[in-house]
């Protein structure tokens, strides 16, 4: 009963100064709307970059890292004598092979792992692409194309030809779109590759792909694994890398640690391999929260001010209510309710405005030349949890901002005011 009187008093107070109430509400509306817009957009950017990154990075990459250990020299063995210092100046690295030893055993073992959905062994080498007088630096990956497709969904990224063409030709090559246009080649054209060890081979273009990242599309090509082994003069179990796709890529860090222990080869998870992208994601997240919280604090001060003004103008009413038997907690309730109503209405309209703005942004074409990023519209994510967060933030802000003034109102001494 007394709750409903308090509510009706709160409502009357709000309605009797509509303009102020609306201004206070708009503060919250704006804060929440910006929060929704920023988080939807920033998370969209993060998601977009992560997708792009994952379309070029395996969940786990196992490879033989170049180790150049200069701490040991055969000279030390020769002059084995406790009174002698042996100093070797400018040692040269030993001849090292970057391949993974015993790949069949490792691949067989990985196939048993239930967390893995795809494994692609590959042999990568730097090459020069020759087409007429043009000579471009780049690299080729020798792969089993179907395995590679399971990792990166290459089929979806072909803009000409198909991945299957590689299986049916002995000298096929899938070429990056940027590279193709630089070399000015089309399907059916021949390109000549030269390896660092001087071997040369001609390939026929059977497909052109676009990953969406210029630094890949401009330099990379796929050919059959056996072709590269042949080019490098190696046998059929010579591979340099194993790329792995997991069911759940959040487990990559843990799994990659296991592989390092088990096989003794360097094993990078996708987060480590893309730590700069992960860092910029983190920065965007922090930025989102800093800006949103700043806006909400400003909105909170708005409410704090308006509640203080209201209470200052309602001192007499508070004294009368107290004289008639309204207790402190009733007065607290009357004024806290007002700021809660302002906050809730502000937060709700903020969610609507935030949704409208994010939706509008998601329909704005992305102004970039398509060779750099494959993005049609600004990336925006719509997720219920952001909206739940927004309303929670909005209501909390107003509760906190309204609490101190309301508490002061509840402590007003009615006698001092009634005396006049």
């Amino acid at each position: 009963m007394s709750l409903s009187v308090n509510l009706s008093i709160a409502r009357t107070h709000l309605l009797s100064r509509k303009k102020q109430s609306i201004v206070a509400m708009l503060g919250v509306t704006f804060g929440i709307a910006m929060f929704i817009l920023m988080i939807s957009f920033m998370k969209g950017v993060n998601q977009f970059l992560e997708d792009i990154m994952l379309s070029a990075t395996p969940d786990i990459h196992i490879y033989n890292d170049v180790k150049t250990d200069y701490s040991y020299s055969i000279a030390g063995d020769y002059f084995r004598d406790s009174n002698t210092w042996t100093i070797v100046r400018h040692p040269k690295p030993k001849q090292i092979n970057l391949n993974i030893k015993n790949p069949e055993a490792i691949l067989a073992d990985l196939k048993k792992d239930p967390l893995i959905t795809a494994i692609s062994p590959l042999l990568s080498t730097q090459v020069f692409y020759n087409y007429g007088p043009v000579q471009l630096n780049g690299y080729i990956d020798g792969v089993h194309i179907n395995e590679e497709d399971r990792l990166y969904s290459l089929k979806d990224k072909m803009i000409a030809g198909s991945t299957q063409n590689l299986l049916t030709s002995s000298d096929g090559i899938l070429i990056g779109s940027g590279l193709a246009s630089k070399l000015n080649v089309a399907l059916g054209d021949l390109v000549t590759l030269t390896t660092p060890i001087g071997t040369t081979m001609q390939f026929r273009v059977v497909g052109i792909f676009t990953i969406g990242i210029a630094t890949i599309d401009n330099v990379k090509s796929y050919v059959n694994l056996s072709n590269v082994q042949q080019l490098l003069g190696q046998n059929s179990n010579y591979i340099t890398d194993i790329n792995i796709k997991l069911k759940d890529n959040e487990k990559a860090t843990m799994e990659s640690g296991n592989y390092l222990k088990k096989y003794g080869y360097k094993s990078d998870d996708w987060q480590t391999a893309n730590s700069s992208v992960m860092a910029s994601n983190l920065i965007r997240d922090v930025l989102t929260y800093v800006v949103s919280i700043t806006l909400l604090v400003v909105a909170g001060f708005g409410i704090y001010n308006i509640m203080n003004m209201t209470i200052a103008s309602k001192m007499k009413d508070i004294a009368i209510l107290k004289a008639q038997g309204f207790a402190r907690k009733d007065i607290l309730q009357i004024f806290l309710t007002q700021s809660l109503i302002i906050g809730t209405m502000g937060a709700l309209t903020g969610l609507l405005l935030g949704f409208a703005l994010s939706y509008a942004l998601s329909r704005v074409p992305f102004p970039a030349n398509n060779s750099f990023v494959s993005l049609k519209y600004f990336p925006v994510i719509f997720r219920a949890s952001y909206y739940a967060f927004g309303i929670f933030f909005g209501v909390m802000t107003t509760l906190v901002a309204g609490f101190m003034p309301s508490l002061r109102a509840s402590r007003i001494d009615p006698v001092a005011i009634l005396r006049g």
Partner: protein, 224 residues
């Protein structure tokens, strides 16, 4: 006749701006149904005493009993409840809530008390206003009423919860003589017909004489 209000040795001090004793050894009893006029020169402490009796001011020495309850020392919240139920208060400046209608103002203490349903409360409030000849103005915003009308609404509000005691601090102090007379007549009716106890502060000697009994304060001391 039973005793409805009693004070024992009330002393009150103000410390600002200079320490001084505003009330000294106030001891008296009031019987149920009495109409008391509290008189004295301006500054003699009448309002201060009335605020103590109404439990709004709790900063004093001595004891106050109302309807057998020792109200001295009760918590703020229980005093609020007590006031709501037992005491009606009318101020000199007919304080109404300006954003509410006359009827809503009258209903408010009853809604707070919560003894009756809302529609019953509305009926009772309307009845109270009728007795003050204010039924035609029930739906008007209280800030749109004249001073005399406002004071009658304030009296209706003070009576809505059927308090045993009605306290009024110079209820006619701000009214012209015609309105003052109306208010005085209402008070006399309340006392005679409804048997309410009334404590009224006034500096009008003619009105004071119409009370059963006069308590006079001189420099914070009660003259017998």
């Amino acid at each position: 006749m039973s005793e409805i209000l009693r004070t024992e040795n009330i002393n009150k001090f103000f410390y600002e701006p200079d320490p001084f004793q505003v009330l000294t050894n106030i001891t008296f009893r009031i019987q149920q149904g009495e109409f008391i006029a509290l008189v004295g020169k301006s500054g003699s402490g009448k309002s201060t005493l009335l605020y103590l009796l109404s439990t709004l001011d709790t900063d004093y020495e001595g004891k106050i009993f109302i309807e057998g309850h020792a109200v001295t020392g009760l918590s703020q919240d229980s005093l609020a409840k007590f006031r709501n139920d037992h005491i009606g208060f009318v101020f000199q400046f007919h304080f109404l809530l300006p954003e509410f209608s006359a009827l809503e103002n009258v209903m408010m203490p009853a809604l707070k008390l919560g003894k009756y349903k809302r529609n019953e409360i509305e009926e009772r409030a309307f009845e109270q206003l009728k007795q003050m000849q204010m039924q035609d103005h029930a739906r008007k915003l209280s800030s749109k009423l004249s001073g005399g009308q406002q004071q009658r609404v304030a009296i209706a509000r003070a009576l809505i919860n059927e308090p045993a005691i009605l306290m009024a601090d110079e209820p006619t102090g701000n009214l012209d003589s015609a309105n003052s007379e109306i208010v005085m007549e209402i008070f006399e009716d309340i006392c005679k017909i409804k048997g309410k106890t009334i404590i009224m502060v006034t500096h009008d000697n003619d009105f004071a004489k119409r009370a059963f009994r006069i308590l006079e304060l001189v420099d914070g001391k009660l003259m017998i």
